[in-house]
Symmetry: C4
Subunit: 196 residues, 4 copies
């Protein structure tokens, strides 16, 4: 089965997730700068989750550039990734509406962790499928992916010291991923020059 | 008429249905694990409906791989399937908000049954259209599809014993469909090797 | 400019309009059949508007099969059609929530009329653009389109007798359009056999 | 990396933004023309924001017709543009619900200004990327883009005289952009005739 419709469907779901989060933003109650200011944290958590969905879209995009055929396991691996990402608008809104209480921040971190694990499971499913060897070669030991899992766990643990520390860690992980995965670009470049 | 735009439109609608269901999830009222726990059933029904939409997407995807041209009847057969699936977020939310009372569980089962019948009608429309013979050959007697219809009816009837039994049946049907329809893959493989 | 991205964008907008209408459906207040029954009109108006969006998608799909290049005027002609259609979820919800009072039913009819006029304007823009002559030839005198405009106006007028009569007219127009526009199919078939 | 998936994702996000704005429209409280009339400003601001998203879609569409390959910087340049545009439904609703008070109108103007700056940044990222020289040549000195930035700032400043003046300026900018960017069409035409 070709990947084109899987990519189109995933693009659709990610486009909707990234956009409906804005529906959870509360409109300031008064037409004043103070009222806008007290909505500022909602704006910042929206930004953080927007960046995370953007990162997943970028990496997803790169990952499937190396893959040409998918099987049923990869389809479901992809759907479970989309499932965890689809919960991000809800966990973001809960965190914001409770003014960053400990439990919602932990749940937000767990959501990020589960999405990262789902991405990892999807990668493994692709590795094991026909035509997945290219991706395995491109990603190598995937230190960056494993480091992120460790950082999410640390961020969750830090919520018991202070929820703000967790957010600093979650934002830091996002920043390390802003650069799209050059490993895939390098692999594709090497492959093309090799076959030329 | 080619199927590409029908597939793109269906992907769009299914992507939106699967994602807007999350807008029906209530954000827990308190920032506590207890409040999160009492939202757990909402989470599980969301998961069940998410899996159902995922199954329809997978099967839809497979079905149209064997079909190349569609006519007006197929277009409307497809739209009525999307119609019943689009009601799933509402029937899911009703079932959850009433804590799985009998009537909403029955309605949820009827919604699943109507979507399955609509899928059946769509298949028949494709069978009768030009170029639909491939799909008919690939699906054979379609025992699995007919078995599902029977199970939905059983699940609806069991709600009069206990709504929880219904949910067990509905979840069981979903699990039998997690494996995408290999009949189509087998047909395509046989066809390609035959023409080679 | 090629039509592919215009078609993809329109498909996206129409897929969203057809799906978010379901967000306006009220979940029944009680877990009973009576409560569901009192939501039945909402369900029927949802069905009517779903069918209308489906019709526009089908006809839009057919129209752009004959067109290969679009200019700026066609882009905006298309966007104004999407604008009027995007208001359909709101006018549907208003009509339903007021239990089909005269004014909301008139406004719903005006919305349908404006969408039909926008479609007409879009057709004219395509006729006048390069490569639009095929569509003009395919549609001929477009009696069906002109008849619909007349029926919408009649439906709006009938609301001053009884809003229910208006709904009968609006449903009747929808039924006449359930059959996708065979004129385009015939034109394409004739064209292909002519060039063969 | 090819631009096709970036275009598809952007189309998806823009299609959702342009459509979910309608969810912020309040359904009139009474089934009367007066109640509809007092919703008229909401309708007009919806129209203004719809036109703005339409303009961005048109220009985005034109811009990427000249570009064939994108790098990571362009991907993020594109996502920040989508981020600012995704806030437009919220700032539109705030402006409308406060009956065009000064602060919300200023914030709406700032939102338009930030989206325009993001578009400018995206253009610069494309200019600097491989294969971006075509766009640079096509756009020339981009007087129209720079003029818009100046007008947004003027509109924001005029809110301190009267918020209505700001809206006149914002509507005027939209009107100047209704004509899609012919510079790209001219460039493509010249390029094709040159290579012929």
């Amino acid at each position: 089965m070709r990947t084109s419709r899987l990519e189109a469907f995933s693009d659709g779901v990610l486009a909707i997730i990234i956009t409906i989060m804005v529906l959870e933003l509360k409109i300031p109650a008064e037409p004043t700068l103070q009222a806008l200011g007290s909505s500022a944290t909602g704006f910042l958590t929206y930004l953080l989750s927007f960046v995370y969905i953007g990162i997943y879209w970028n990496n997803h995009h790169h990952m499937f550039q190396v893959v040409e055929h998918v099987n049923g396991t990869v389809l479901w691996g992809n759907l479970q990734l989309l499932f965890w990402l689809s919960l991000l608008p809800v966990s973001t809104a809960w965190m914001d509406q409770t003014k960053f209480s400990r439990t919602p921040v932990v749940v937000y971190g767990v959501n990020l962790l589960l999405a990262a694990l789902a991405y990892f499971v999807l990668q493994q499913a692709i590795f094991r499928s026909e035509g997945g060897s290219g991706l395995r070669e491109a990603l190598g030991r995937d230190l960056k992916g494993k480091m992120s899992l460790f950082l999410y766990v640390s961020g969750i643990a830090l919520a018991f010291v202070s929820p703000w520390l967790s957010l600093v860690v979650f934002a830091a992980v996002a920043i390390t991923w802003l650069v799209p995965d050059r490993r895939v670009e390098r692999y594709l470049a090497a492959h093309e020059s090799g076959s030329a």
